[in-house]
């Protein structure tokens, strides 16, 4: 007589009960709006032209975006920003993690200092760095007036703010490395640099993958920092994709087009996640000791 199902029914019911609030919340407040966005992206919906109604236009919004130079530069800005800032953050994050890991004294103080940039609101970070770079500007060279130079304070602010986050993710990874392995390498005669590259870094692999994934996903969704710091300016020289979508939605009130633009942000992050999991995620599962 197989009684395996009955005792578990109670447990399953309890589980459903416990998950219901969170799941319900997410379905109503997140999944429905997401579905609504997808729907909007497929319709023509311009609040300034209500007499045109809300016809189904299929992929027309996306087609328009593909030919929209402002969209294309926004994509370029976003991708370039990610490509530049993420490696810097990872590198500095590794350095900071090592500092936090190896510190013998004042660990608490170091952690406080390291955490502050990350815990401070993004707009505070944006304003501080805007302030600092404005104070570096002279009469002949204003950082925020040059279309290319304006990116420097943005990247600086982002790196400053998120390096601690990366460092802490990596710190966890560092702490799981068995110190005996490093000691064995020392006895084998390896110097500190060599040990770092051949022992520490590879063992940090999984943590690095996670940290890079998190950071890249956030970098592709860049919004707050730029909105506050430059407003996307000068002109639209520093406008990332999220900001353009915001502009289209809230300022130009082109809900259909704006929805399509914000969908591309999602598609971009999704594409990245897929590629990342395919290439890096797989190698993780077979070569890890």
């Amino acid at each position: 007589m197989n009684n395996a199902i009955d005792p578990h029914r109670e447990e399953r019911r309890l589980a459903a009960l416990l998950i219901a609030p969170a799941a319900g919340l997410i379905v109503v407040m997140a999944l429905f709006p997401i579905a609504a966005t997808v729907s909007e992206a497929l319709h023509g919906h311009d609040l300034r032209l209500p007499w045109l109604g809300r016809p189904f236009v299929g992929l027309a919004n996306f087609v328009e975006a593909a030919g929209d130079p402002r969209f294309l530069s926004a994509v370029g800005h976003t991708v370039l920003f990610a490509l530049v800032s993420v490696p810097i953050e990872i590198a500095l994050g590794v350095a900071l993690a090592l500092v936090m890991h190896r510190a013998l004294r004042g660990r608490a103080a170091i952690r406080v200092v390291a955490l502050l940039p990350w815990t401070v609101p993004t707009i505070v970070a944006a304003l501080i760095w805007r302030f600092m770079f404005e104070s570096y500007s002279t009469a002949s060279f204003d950082w925020f007036v040059h279309p290319r130079a304006a990116w420097v304070p943005i990247v600086a602010a982002d790196v400053w703010k998120t390096t601690p986050f990366v460092a802490i993710l990596l710190l966890a990874g560092l702490q799981t490395i068995d110190p005996a392995i490093d000691e064995a390498a020392r006895i084998d005669g390896a110097g500190p640099l060599r040990r770092f590259f051949t022992v520490t870094l590879p063992l940090l692999g999984p943590a690095l993958v996670v940290a890079t994934a998190f950071r890249a996903l956030d970098a592709l969704r860049l919004f707050d920092l730029v909105y506050v710091m430059t407003g996307g300016g000068p002109g639209t020289a520093t406008e990332p994709l999220s900001l353009y979508a915001f502009v289209a939605l809230m300022q130009r009130l082109r809900f259909g087009y704006g929805a399509a633009l914000s969908m591309t942000v999602f598609l971009l992050t999704f594409a990245f996640a897929l590629i990342w999991i395919r290439t890096v995620g797989h190698s993780l599962t077979d070569d890890h000791v």
């Binding site: 998950i19 969170a22 919340l25 997401i34 500095l92 502050l116 304003l127 999704f270």
Partner: protein, 269 residues
């Protein structure tokens, strides 16, 4: 040799992290108009900007709003997320993978994509420019993170404690309450702190769903200081200092919890 090099490099790194905050504080206390020209070690101090902040701009209002919203969201998110996390970590259930993917997907989704429909939804419910109007979206988007963290924490707890309680006669729920909860307290604290930080720092939703100064949160309020031509840096910086105070207090007192929370999230992922 390399030890001292490392210490120096580390020191430089930490100094670089600290420097902007130092500048912010120093400049906020600089007497106008020399805000930009503040020397590295200022000699003159003035609280003029802070006074203006509270007297003329009524900065206490956004502070109050942010506190209420963050506290309410945290108070609601933790039980909701905790229950869900416990079920995911310990109970037999169907569709665990589905729930986890859903949670992951929501946290990955760009906020910008949701602002439009959420705005319309909140407008329908007459919740724009209200506290619930912010708490609901915050709840929705902080819960996935909290669930992620708490699931990792619950998983780390040894199973045999709950089993011992059940053999002693406690029901699953009773065992969870008597045994799991006290042990998960540090993890719950971490999740609560991170949730609070998320709400306190959040900008886009606050910008979109509040309509007037009586409901603006701190980030939005600071943002709207700027007039068309210039940013009143003195007051803005004073405001950023004030905005950072709760954060700094939290970090100073709970840095261990914060680190533990982030680490747990990482090791699970």
């Amino acid at each position: 040799m390399t030890r001292t090099a490392g210490v120096i490099a580390g020191g430089l790194l930490l100094a670089a992290l600290l420097y902007p905050i130092y500048r912010m504080i120093a400049a906020s206390m600089a007497p106008d108009p020399s805000v930009f020209a503040v020397p590295l070690l200022p000699t003159a101090f003035s609280f003029e900007h802070y006074r203006a902040l509270f007297d003329e701009r009524d900065f206490l209002v956004p502070i109050r709003n942010s506190l209420i919203v963050a506290a309410a969201t945290t108070a609601l998110a933790i039980p909701v997320a905790g229950a869900c996390a416990y079920a995911l970590a310990r109970l037999r259930m169907r569709g665990r993978g589905l729930i986890l993917s859903m949670i992951l997907a929501v946290s990955m989704f760009p906020q910008i994509s949701i602002v439009g429909p959420l705005y319309l939804l909140l407008r329908e419910l007459h919740l724009l420019n209200t506290y619930p109007g912010l708490v609901l979206p915050y709840l929705t988007f902080s819960t996935p993170l909290a669930v992620w963290l708490l699931t990792a924490f619950f998983r780390q707890l040894p199973r045999d404690l709950e089993e011992a309680a059940m053999i002693d006669g406690a029901s699953r729920l009773r065992a969870a309450w008597d045994v799991v909860l006290p042990l998960a307290a540090p993890g719950i604290a971490s999740a609560a702190i991170l949730t609070f930080l998320y709400c306190w720092n959040e900008f886009l939703f606050a910008l979109s769903f509040t309509l007037g100064p009586e409901r603006y949160t701190v980030p939005v309020s600071i943002m709207l200081f700027r007039s068309r031509y210039q940013i009143p840096w003195g007051e803005v910086l004073a405001a950023t200092v004030v905005a950072s105070i709760p954060v700094v207090i939290l970090v100073l007192t709970c840095q261990r919890r914060i680190v533990a929370g982030l680490s747990a999230g990482a090791s699970k992922g």
